[in-house]
């Protein structure tokens, strides 16, 4: 057993040490596998980034009230009187007499994206109430000041300011016959709110001709457990026709379709490319075995057993795979991690800014896939090396 081990180690070390001498053929395997890992990791980092933005948006501490049947804030609608009733619900946190709830409107305003200045993008414009900063306690104004309610002032999210044109501090934003003035910039822990523009909901009602109606009420719960009491009271109330969802669940639901689509595409492409890379690796390893046919035969003639030859070939191919995986992962990380972009959230027809995220999990996944490709690519050549008929291989020039 020990002898077998030393044999294997000796042959393997020899193989690994001679990789640089076979650079051009090894490059086929390394670059092929690295290419697959770059594509896999970078495509999945889009999904990871989008998903993270959506998930960071919701808090289990808050509940979102919409008209029942509405699938997003966009399609929901609540009358002013309904909102007054909702604000009386139990389970909601209160500060003195003031319930910590914000009745909101969610509409779209057309602004050009910086990356495509000639065509408008649907930027979400949210009407909020003065309580909003207490309801969403993760939001803070980082530049300028909070908007003054009752005026046409707005504050813009950090992501919105980075992605869309004309949202600099102090700028006037013309939309139809109305002009909004940007007085502040806010951040929201990387959540989707950072892509939004916030205005006073009362002002927005007038501008968008919504009368005294809102679209949703966002309420801060007493504790995460008081959702049931809150929900039961609202749904049992015959005057109301609403549904209540925990905010984090609402956003998680919104990210599902797009995340799944990107993941399907990413895994599909990676699987196909992987097939090509495996054949590239097979080519490399076959060449490696072929150029060393005589050495391998000599070792076998000296009494090295064939299993150690198999292990050595497999190790070499795994090493190539690992190298490819590392290079690919690193390239994807350097090129894409933190890459800022925005896309359309189809549930609300509005833009969401997010950053690609090359997470450690994705890098591990890429490396694992690279090793798998190396293993599969080395299998056939390894068996062939072990089966090499000694006399004819020795005779081969």
């Amino acid at each position: 057993m020990l002898r077998w081990l030393t044999q294997t180690v000796a042959v393997t070390a020899l193989n690994l040490r001679t990789i640089p001498a076979r650079m051009s053929s090894s490059a086929v395997a390394i670059v092929g596998i690295a290419g697959v890992v770059v594509v896999l990791v970078s495509v999945l980092s889009i999904a990871a980034g989008f998903n993270a933005a959506m998930r960071q948006s919701g808090s289990p501490q808050r509940a979102l009230v919409m008209r029942s049947g509405a699938d997003s804030e966009m399609t929901s609608g609540l009358g002013g009187p309904d909102v007054d009733i909702i604000k009386q619900a139990p389970g909601m946190r209160r500060e003195g007499q003031t319930p910590l709830a914000s009745a909101e409107l969610y509409v779209i305003i057309d602004l050009p994206k910086k990356s495509t200045p000639d065509s408008p993008a649907n930027v979400p414009l949210r009407g909020v109430e003065p309580t909003v900063l207490k309801v969403r306690d993760e939001v803070s104004v980082i530049q300028g000041r909070m908007l003054e309610f009752g005026t046409n002032e707005v504050i813009v999210g950090r992501g919105a300011q980075a992605q869309f044109m004309g949202l600099s501090l102090g700028a006037d934003v013309k939309s139809g016959q109305n002009v909004w003035r940007v007085v502040g910039v806010f951040e929201a822990d990387g959540g989707v709110a950072e892509t939004e523009v916030w205005a006073d909901s009362r002002t927005l009602q007038g501008v968008y001709r919504r009368g005294n109606s809102y679209q949703s009420v966002l309420a801060r719960l007493d504790s995460t457990d008081s959702l049931t009491a809150f929900r039961d009271w609202l749904t049992a109330n015959p005057q109301l026709n609403v549904m209540v969802r925990r905010e984090d669940e609402y956003y998680a639901g919104q990210s599902q379709a797009l995340t799944r689509l990107i993941q399907t595409i990413g895994f599909g492409i990676a699987a196909l490319m992987g097939l090509g890379a495996v054949f590239g690796a097979i080519l490399t390893m076959y060449t490696a075995v072929a150029t060393r046919a005589r050495e391998i035969a000599t070792l076998r003639a000296l009494g090295f057993n064939s299993l150690s030859v198999v292990v050595s070939v497999l190790t070499e191919s795994l090493a190539l795979g690992a190298l490819g995986g590392l290079i690919g992962g690193l390239a994807a990380y350097i090129a894409f991690n933190g890459y800022q972009t925005s896309t359309m959230n189809f549930q609300t027809f509005s833009q969401v800014a997010f950053a690609f995220r090359v997470t450690p999990q994705l890098l591990m996944l890429g490396l694992a896939y690279a090793l798998l490709m190396g293993l599969v690519g080395g299998l056939l050549p390894a068996i062939r090396a072990a089966r090499l008929p000694i006399p004819s291989a020795l005779r081969e020039l």
Binding site: S25, G69, G276, L283
Partner: protein, 383 residues
């Protein structure tokens, strides 16, 4: 031509290696085809949108409605052929994940403008006589196994029926088909049914589509419309349908750029594999090439032989890959409705073909030039 057998023999000199190379090529071009298809899907068929169709939306944003009273004013403007309007319904059939577009339309003018939607005349007749009627795309009907005459309940998310509840009932009066580029996953129903039965929003429509008689007047007419409604409570913004779809696609973001980046990565990897493999196979044959030269084969001929070999491998592997991608796409959208326009444009097939030849030339060029420059005496001595 008489050297073809020689090229053929060289190609199969190392069967396994050639097969591996063919598979790599095959995969590369199969992927190329698929990625170009996905790219087209994400542009929402911008290539087929009409330049002689204008879209009027509310100036503030697409989600703001316009009054139905604009229709006669648009219709009587000189240069206008037909006017119709659409309204987004956004309902849910059984489960929110069953997403498909439902749009309220004016049947006659709608089908007059969108001639690409083909509907049998008897089904059209039924639809015109049935207020609750709807027509659905062939792919959509297949997805839910709907038949003509079936009654479909859809839960309204934006619009609630006057009679209470949230469910709207529709009769499927027809199933439309159309060419490859036509989105066959949509659900069209009658605007009058929506307008008479919704609780609020009477007299409002989503957007207008105007067919004009001369595409070159698009900009001029667009400006005229926008001026017509300027300073009203609902100002408009007019674009060509093409511009509208393009703008929508741009909002989704850089899908096209990402696809191109991936294709570049795939092509680079494949080219590298091909170049290295060709170099090996030529190096192995140094002495044979020297013998050919000794026999009097001129240098350009040697160059041609090696190039022919690499182009052959690229053409067979890549060609089959493109063909397979084309065949796969003919099978239709595999995601069940997420990519309604699922076609591999002929333009991309041509680009693919050009890439195959380029790749073959590239892979063969270096070893071929090396083979051509080979000095007979050196090569023979080495062997």
């Amino acid at each position: 031509m008489k050297y073809l057998p020689l090229v053929w023999k060289n190609v199969w000199r190392r069967k396994f290696r050639t097969i591996c190379t063919l598979v790599v090529m095959f995969v590369a071009f199969f992927l190329f085809g698929l990625l170009m298809t996905i790219r087209t899907a994400f542009t929402f068929g911008v290539d087929i949108a009409g330049a002689d169709r204008l879209v009027l939306i509310h100036k503030v944003s697409l989600i703001m409605p316009l009054p139905v009273s604009y229709e006669p004013r648009l219709q009587t403007t000189p240069g206008v052929e037909t006017v119709t309007h659409n309204t987004w319904f956004g309902g849910v059939y059984q489960d929110p994940s069953n997403f498909f577009a439902q749009i309220a339309v004016e049947p006659e003018t709608f089908l007059k403008i969108y001639k690409e939607y083909e509907l049998p005349t008897d089904q059209l007749k039924t639809w015109l006589g049935d207020r609750q009627g709807a027509i659905v795309g062939k792919d959509l009907a297949a997805r839910f196994d709907w038949k003509v005459g079936q009654r479909i309940p859809i839960t309204g998310t934006i619009w609630q029926p006057k009679g209470g509840g949230q469910t709207w009932e529709f009769n499927i009066d027809g199933i439309y088909t159309g060419g490859k580029n036509v989105d066959k996953t949509q659900f069209f129903f009658r605007y009058d049914y929506l307008d008479e039965n919704r609780r609020n929003g009477q007299g409002l429509v989503g957007w207008y589509i105007v067919k004009i008689d001369d595409a070159s007047k698009a900009t001029e007419l667009g400006k005229k419309f926008d001026d017509m409604f300027a300073n009203s409570s609902a100002e408009t913004k007019t674009t060509t349908e093409k511009g509208f779809v393009e703008g929508f696609a741009k909002q989704v973001g850089d899908i096209g750029a990402i696809m191109i980046a991936i294709v570049t990565a795939v092509m680079f990897t494949t080219a590298l594999v091909a170049v290295v493999v060709m170099a090996w196979s030529v190096r192995e044959r140094t002495s044979e090439l020297a013998v050919l030269k000794t026999l009097g084969f001129p240098d350009p001929m040697i160059l041609g032989l090696v190039l022919a070999e690499s182009i052959f491998i690229a053409a067979v592997g890549g060609g089959l890959g493109l063909l397979a991608a084309w065949a796969f796409v003919q099978g239709g959208d595999p995601t069940g409705g997420m990519l309604p326009i699922f076609v591999l444009p002929p333009r991309d097939l041509v680009i693919g073909g050009a890439l195959i030849v380029l790749l073959g030339l590239l892979a063969g060029a270096m070893p071929a030039v090396g083979a051509m420059r080979l000095r007979i005496t050196d090569a023979l001595r080495r062997a």
